[in-house]
């Protein structure tokens, strides 16, 4: 899966949780889920579950803790996706 496709899908997943439209318009790898998108921290677990469903992967607690930005999420998804 291309990086671009991962980011496009990721943007769609986070959309309902976002409380800062400005952050969403500037959606890029450096975008921070809590600070830039103003996602309620309790909703991060919902984002994780939606990512799991969308990409058919499982994200363990350790990986989740390192997932602060869109780029972090992309890297974790790439790592978990079956190769080839």
């Amino acid at each position: 899966m291309s990086e671009k496709e991962i980011l496009t899908r990721l943007k769609k997943i986070v959309e309902p949780y976002v409380q800062s439209l400005e952050g969403l318009q500037n959606f890029k790898e450096e975008t921070d889920f809590l600070n830039d998108l103003q996602i309620n921290s309790a909703n991060l677990v919902d984002v994780i579950l939606d990512v799991e469903d969308e990409f058919n992967i499982e994200i363990d607690n350790d990986s989740m803790e390192g997932m602060l930005t869109v780029g972090d999420a992309k890297a974790i998804i790439q790592r978990k996706l079956p190769q080839g």
């Binding site: 309902p16 949780y17 909703n43 677990v45 919902d46």
Partner: protein, 424 residues
């Protein structure tokens, strides 16, 4: 002498009408909200009928954000938020987005059990070893105070925000608790009410107790028969009712419309002594509760024009009437008009007290007494006590000055509230 307390807004999600206007029309038309549920038949319930508010997508989208709707499975929260927000808007109040909450406004919104369908989903996931899949709202949708928490956040209330629970007394108790908080000057405005989930997991326990009617699955609208000779048990219901109570001075200052005044009331328990038990009322406690409510309100029994009873449509209805005649010292034709909403909605359990309080106040402000549905033949033990003229079976155009509303619940608990037409 404490502050005077008035009702300035109301909202409702009842089996026979969602929204104040629909509900008012249903009351006047004596419309039943009882329906047959194929799901209950499949689950081999004896009683396969019940009362459930019809909530359209449009209404859901009006009262909830898309984010709130994600995974929302607590029907009690859905009904409670709809009725609570409607009451708030009906009172002419705005939803403020300011940083600070409204410190003078609080919420007491009760329930019996909350979010059973959400809880069932969680139980299945947990048993499959998938606890991590519960999502973020499993707790807030199933905690008892979930309903006051949702409303508190939506409306931005900064006074006491809590949930009470006292079985079928819950709604009337919430109203009286909010009333006291304003009367004693601790709050200027309280949103009070109660809600209850629908469905087999709420109603099953009552079915197992064999206190629900089982011969009306083919004719649901005829099943709930308060005060009737044919009363065969209560029909389970669900929904929510909400009222905005306000310090009279504050209401007048902002030019709010006033539906009625809450004069007072009383809450007590029979201690499960005497005739009282976990499921039956101690008659002495009921009589005391009615009499103290009248005394607290500074009126006398003969001033009561109408009674909205608890009257669930079991054989205990006659006992309730006996307690009213004993408490009011009024019998035969001198007894006030009396009605029960449960003929139309069934028994909405924890939501009943608030839905019925809304119905009671509508009768005062709109000058009518709704008729008792399915009560063509009055139970002989009741007609021995009061005249059939006191039990209207059609809607009466009538100006009510004072109305007494009672609710009784499992655990031998009682609540009686007295409402009065507002006069400056």
């Amino acid at each position: 002498m404490g502050k005077r307390v008035v009702i300035t807004g109301m909202g409702v999600a009842a089996p026979n009408g969602v929204g104040l206007e629909n509900f008012n029309s249903s009351l006047k038309a004596m419309k039943s909200g009882i329906q047959f549920f194929p799901e209950l038949e499949k689950l081999k319930f004896s009683c396969q009928i019940g009362g459930k508010p019809e909530i359209s997508e449009e209404i859901l989208n009006r009262y909830f954000t898309p984010l709130q709707l994600r995974g929302l499975k607590s029907s009690g929260i859905i009904y409670g938020v709809i009725s609570g927000t409607e009451a708030w808007e009906d009172a002419g109040l705005k939803i403020s987005k300011e940083e600070s909450p409204d410190w003078d406004t609080g919420i007491i919104f009760g329930t019996g059990i909350l979010g059973v369908d959400k809880f069932r989903e969680a139980i299945h996931l947990i048993d499959e070893g998938k606890t991590r899949r519960l999502g973020s709202t499993s707790v807030v949708q199933t905690m008892a105070s979930g309903i006051s928490a949702y409303l508190g956040g939506i409306l931005g209330c900064g006074n006491q925000v809590t949930t009470n629970s006292s079985a079928c007394t819950t709604g009337t108790e919430a109203l009286l608790m909010g009333f006291e908080r304003i009367q004693t000057g601790k709050a200027k405005r309280m949103l009070v009410g109660s809600c209850g989930d629908h469905g087999p997991y709420v109603w099953g326990g009552f079915d197992a107790m064999r206190i629900l009617p089982n011969k009306f699955n083919k004719e649901p609208e005829n099943a709930s028969k308060p005060m009737s000779r044919e009363a065969a048990g209560f029909v389970p219901g669900s929904g929510a009712g909400a009222l905005v109570l306000e310090d009279l001075e504050v209401a007048l200052e902002r030019g709010a419309k006033i539906y009625a005044e809450v004069l007072g009331g009383d809450i007590n328990s029979g201690g499960q002594r005497g005739e009282g038990s976990m499921t039956a009322a101690n008659n002495e406690a009921v009589v005391r509760c009615i009499q103290k409510a009248i005394k607290n309100s500074g009126i006398t029994a003969d001033k009561i024009d109408a009674v909205n009873g608890h009257l669930t449509a079991t054989t205990k209805d006659a006992v309730e009437i006996m307690n009213w005649t004993e408490a009011l010292k009024l019998k035969g034709g001198s007894f006030p008009f009396i009605n029960s909403l449960k003929g139309m909605t069934g028994h909405c359990l924890s939501a009943s007290g608030s839905i019925e309080s809304v119905a009671s106040v509508l009768q005062i402000s709109n000058n009518f007494i709704f008729g008792n549905l399915n009560c063509e033949e009055i139970h002989p033990e009741i007609s021995d006590l009061i005249s059939h003229k006191c039990i209207p079976t059609t809607m009466l155009e009538k100006k009510i000055n004072i109305l007494a509303k009672a609710s009784f619940g499992f655990g031998d608990v009682n609540a009686v509230a007295i409402f009065k037409r507002y006069k400056a």
